[in-house]
Symmetry: C2
């Protein structure tokens, strides 16, 4: 056999995908592994998707996105995120957050560049940064000023985190974000804020770092908010020079986000999702009250996950949960560098969640 | 300003994009620069796209594509391309040919690997291979056995071409394809056949190299055939081990092709496009008869382009065409290493094409 590129050696099949495949083999599983909302994509968004198709919007769009969507995103970033410099020239529309990460990491990272990842993390950050040959550093999400003072780097290229966090639901305080801005400035590095879960903010604590730092690179998605994960749409706000480079790279790789999805995105931005968010807030509370006497957990503040410390090894716990309870969870080693947690999602029907809580109580 | 990755230095904004932007600034241009069909995406395909959305198919699909589409593609490759080993396990569904190239080049190419490109070429091949640090070699499309005998490489990683060719409409003979297979075998390298224009084969001369070479990597698209360029769908047939690596990489980058588009792809494969192809055959003939006494051209055999030798410099010709005739064409330097050609597309309304031919006659 001929060789693949050397960097392919470090890339494993995603263990989340493995959980997905495991769930497919079990009859009536209690699936708490899913990283997408359980509610349907709202019908007005579906209608606008179909309308775009009926109007023949099936051709390439401009590389950076249709102007109407860039304009609407500009207004959204200004009003919802207080990112007042988010003009259309500073926005790139792309094909989901994973494509945004692909463009960013490819455009920014040289082999041996240092990258700082807040931990626990979304698994794609370390996987793809390692793929690009970066040297990884980690900082726990509950870092303090003392922790930050101790940081030292030779050539820090970027800092990355998700806020609200996948997998913990953690939301950074303003003073923590200010500390990260300080690190970015001190080491002349990019600060990437992945805000795909921004609407899943149950106690109104979420702040976009871009609201007070105009060099931030802010990623926003449509996938989780409107259950459009398969339709592939996200956007990036960054300095104009960064957007220019990413757009150039998009020409040669992604080409453009799907045309009809971009029109659906226009409608999505007008859609009130608050009833769905309220439902998830209740589920967030329900999980907390169900598990707090069994596991050492804090109430999740955002996204739709709990990252639960367990006794023993995470992979063994996950296996036991499947065998004894038909319960599908995700082992925590994917998201941090320990084997001491599992991740569950509460993006689920209440009845499924009730069964899952009972199973978890019995497994504690 | 912080640095971008070193490899970004060599990447220019696509000159085709520049032609596109130029056309947008001119009132009533005669646009012969467009690389996509002028006919609409057929209504039955639009209906199946909408039906998928109405059925709520907005979530992630399996990484490698929905099983129904892989099955239908398997049958298509067997019956239309005589690729009898094209089982679903050897197929990956991805988000357009550009994403297929992204996956392939990323998964296969190490810095300093040699790559052989048949020239004239689709501009993405050399741009993205250079981006990955490859050393490029070129072989003219009308190569003979003598030319192939002279080839020598230290570590040839891959050979790539489009067949039918963008920009020339050239179609390789079986003996030429056999010569390329010989090179791939001799130097233990991958052979990548980009067949996105396969249906635009006016004299029934096109053969898939995969019909007689089971290590071929064959790329097929839906974009050009059904005017779905904005819907982002293509597929790859390759050895199972290659598909496994590409699928792994897709998990971390593209994630999956757009869900609703995959369902539309199922319908597309059932759609008879022969009337459209016949229309383009007539246009192919019309352009030939209009220009043969003015330019030294051969009749295009496929795709929907003519690559026309011009007097003087291509970029100056293109500028003059705009200023004097409002005619938009693409300079040839993008597609080969000379400044002696322009590319025109006959994917156009007849009236526009007539005006374009008159303008080109006057510019000769």
């Amino acid at each position: 056999m001929k060789n693949f590129a050397d960097s392919m050696n470090g890339l494993d099949t995603s263990p989340i995908r493995k959980a997905f495949e495991l769930a497919a083999t079990i009859k009536d599983p209690i699936n708490l592994s899913i990283g997408q909302p359980h509610f349907p994509c709202p019908p007005n968004i579906i209608n606008s998707l179909n309308e775009a198709a009926n109007l023949g919007k099936t051709a390439y769009t401009l590389t950076g996105g249709i102007p109407e969507l860039k304009q609407a995103l500009s207004e959204k970033y200004k009003s919802a995120n207080q990112i007042n410099y988010a003009t259309p020239e500073r926005i790139l529309v792309t094909s989901g957050i994973s494509s945004a990460l692909l463009l960013l990491f490819t455009a920014l990272v040289n082999r041996d560049d240092e990258c700082l990842i807040i931990t626990p993390y979304f698994l794609m950050y370390p996987s793809m940064l390692k793929f690009h040959g970066a040297k990884l550093h980690f900082l726990p999400e509950d870092f303090t000023e003392e922790d930050v003072k101790k940081l030292n780097f030779k050539n820090l290229k970027l800092i990355i985190y998700s806020n609200p966090s996948n997998p913990t639901g953690y939301i950074f305080s303003k003073s923590q974000l200010e500390l990260l801005v300080g690190v970015a400035e001190k080491f002349n590095s990019y600060l990437i804020s992945d805000e795909i879960y921004e609407l899943f903010d149950y106690d109104k604590e979420f702040i976009s770092v871009g609201s007070f730092y105009d060099k931030a690179i802010t990623l926003s998605g449509f996938s989780k908010t409107y259950n459009m994960t398969g339709l592939r749409l996200a956007s990036i706000v960054a300095e104009e020079e960064v957007i220019r480079e990413l757009t150039k790279l998009q020409q040669y790789t992604i080409v453009c986000a799907p045309s009809t999805t971009q029109y659906a995105g226009l409608e999505a931005l007008k859609t009130d999702m608050s009833s769905y968010i309220l439902d998830y807030k209740e589920k967030r509370d329900f999980v907390y009250h169900s598990l707090k006497d069994y596991y050492n957990i804090k109430k999740s503040k955002g996204a739709f996950y709990y990252f639960i410390p367990i006794k023993g090894n995470d992979e063994e716990f996950v296996k036991r949960a499947v065998l004894e309870k038909k319960l599908i969870t995700v082992p925590g080693f994917i998201f941090n560098q320990t084997n001491s947690y599992i991740r569950i999602s509460f993006a689920s029907e209440k009845s499924n969640l009730e069964k899952g809580m009972k199973a978890l109580q019995e497994l504690a």
